[in-house]
């Protein structure tokens, strides 16, 4: 299958960006990615933009047109929505458009402007990622849904509350090395345990924050990408979907779609998970990272607690996870997250991640979840076009 290369990346600062609108954010990341690629905007054939809630949060839909207007282009420009996986699903559309011969160069964006509404309104809007008729009607929040998975997981595998807190502690540490991260403060296990309960047993510091941000990447067809300085290659891509509601899921202690998507992506890349050097997983809540590293096969089922205690998931550990600070500490602008994960992996593979550089990285993986595991995208990236057997 034809390979697709990433020739440019760009991201805004992540945070509560009072001075920037949805349009400002999208413009900034688009222009940065185009500049990074050293192309002209007029070289772009197609645009995809991942976003979940611009209608609810800014009263603005029709983002396809907004994205192309910013660049003074009349090319097809399409908005993609798959809840928190919107960014990664948009990336897949871009990749497939190139593979299918529709375009040579594609711009893919992920954007979310969240702080123009109050937290309670944001909470209601985000529940659109679940099953509104049953989960929403019963007053569930997304934190509540993941809290129920946390309870089930802790019950089954005897994970302690202290062990669970290690996810946020580690991700805050990583974020101190990432200039664009929402937070730059370290936190302790005690602080996680003593912060206010949002949905028992999860506390405020188990939750990814409400963040504004935008990220963009430029994709190019193989023969074009090869002419660029240091393209990063999409070696494999997999998506799997599952029930919209959590209650209808076969398991509450894992996300089966993560395993399926990873298998598809790794098979396409002709790689085993053991060849992956650096991973960005979807830690919208602390328990999500615990399940993700097991669902992807990075560690054995039920062993996350011990492995985190040993510090193995730190950027300088054996299984580096979320070197950018993850959704927890880099921030989680819903539609932007999937593209920001790609941004971080490209930084790592280009050896441009500064103080959080994991060392020499050849293969990176992103894992992006929509809802409670209703949509999962896993992508595998490489510094080299072909699997060199590493």
């Amino acid at each position: 299958m034809e390979k697709v290369g990433i020739i440019g990346i760009g991201a805004t600062k992540f945070g509560e960006l009072w001075k920037q609108s949805l349009r400002d954010l999208l413009a900034e990341s688009q222009l940065k990615a185009i500049e990074d690629a050293k192309i002209s905007e007029k070289d772009i054939d197609l645009i995809f933009t991942g976003n979940m809630c611009s209608g609810d949060f800014s009263g603005q839909n029709h983002l396809g047109s907004m994205a192309s207007e910013i660049l003074n282009l009349n090319v097809p420009s399409i908005r993609v929505e798959a809840a928190c996986a919107s960014g990664s699903v948009a990336l897949r559309q871009g990749m497939q458009a190139i593979r299918g011969g529709e375009a040579d160069i594609v711009l893919v964006n992920g954007v979310e402007k969240m702080t123009d509404v109050q937290t309670r309104q944001a909470t209601t809007g985000l529940m659109g990622a679940g099953d509104e008729e049953w989960e929403g009607f019963n007053g569930l929040t997304f934190c509540g849904l993941y809290a129920m998975m946390a309870r089930a997981y802790m019950h089954k595998y005897r994970l302690t509350r202290e062990q669970l807190a290690l996810v946020s502690v580690k991700n805050h540490k990583h974020a101190t090395y990432n200039p664009i991260a929402h937070y730059h403060n370290e936190i302790t296990v005690d602080q996680v345990l003593n912060s206010s309960i949002i949905a028992d047993p999860l506390t405020l510091l188990d939750c990814s924050p409400i963040t504004d941000g935008s990220a963009s990447v430029v994709l190019a067809r193989e023969d074009i990408a090869r002419k660029f300085e240091s393209p990063i290659w999409i070696l494999g891509s997999g998506q799997a979907n599952d029930t919209l509601s959590l209650h209808a899921r076969k398991s509450l202690t894992e996300i089966p779609a993560s395993t399926h998507a990873a298998q598809r992506a790794l098979m396409q890349a002709k790689l085993g998970i053991d060849k992956v050097n650096v991973t960005e997983v979807h830690d919208c809540f602390s328990i999500a990272e615990v399940m993700a590293i097991e669902d992807l096969g990075l560690i054995p089922r039920g062993e996350a607690g011990r492995i985190m205690e040993e510090g193995q998931t730190y950027f300088d550990g054996k299984v580096p996870v979320n070197s950018c600070g993850g959704l927890k500490a880099c921030g989680h602008p819903i539609g932007a997250t999937g593209i920001k994960q790609v941004w971080e992996i490209v930084k790592q593979l280009r050896n441009e991640a500064g103080k959080r550089q994991i060392g020499k990285a050849n293969i990176g993986l992103t894992h992006n979840v929509g809802g409670t595991g209703s949509t999962v995208v896993v992508n595998v990236f490489g510094r080299d076009r072909e699997n060199k057997g590493y």
């Binding site: 909470t123 309870r151 999860l202 209650h247 209808a248």
Partner: protein, 132 residues
Amino acid sequence: MHRQSPILRWRKFPERYRLEGNRCNRCGIVYFPKKELCECSCKEFSSFQLSGKGKILTYTEIKSSPEEFSEMTPYCVGIIELAEGPKITGQITDATVDELKVGDDVEQVFRKFLAVGDSGVIHYGVKFKKIE
């Protein structure tokens, strides 16, 4: 906005008011909420009345709620495995989070849900309560 719509809620009365599900005429799997297509690809179903008895698979207590639920916060919500097989999300009432355990037996009770919106309509539905 949509959460205050009486029509949107009325449509689901048979399910919300008396836990009416459906059962596949071919393989016998019971669904709640109702399905139109069975895992076995059959499309023929009969209504099925669930007993409302089940056990708690997992639960949480919501302390930070969506705006429409602020008056009743905090409240417990769980996933209940009904005796007939289906799993369903439901509020667990008349108990604090510390009084609940995974595996507890529960039964349905009929309760008020959302107080009032701009429409002035009160929404009702089934919740669950521990069996002592």
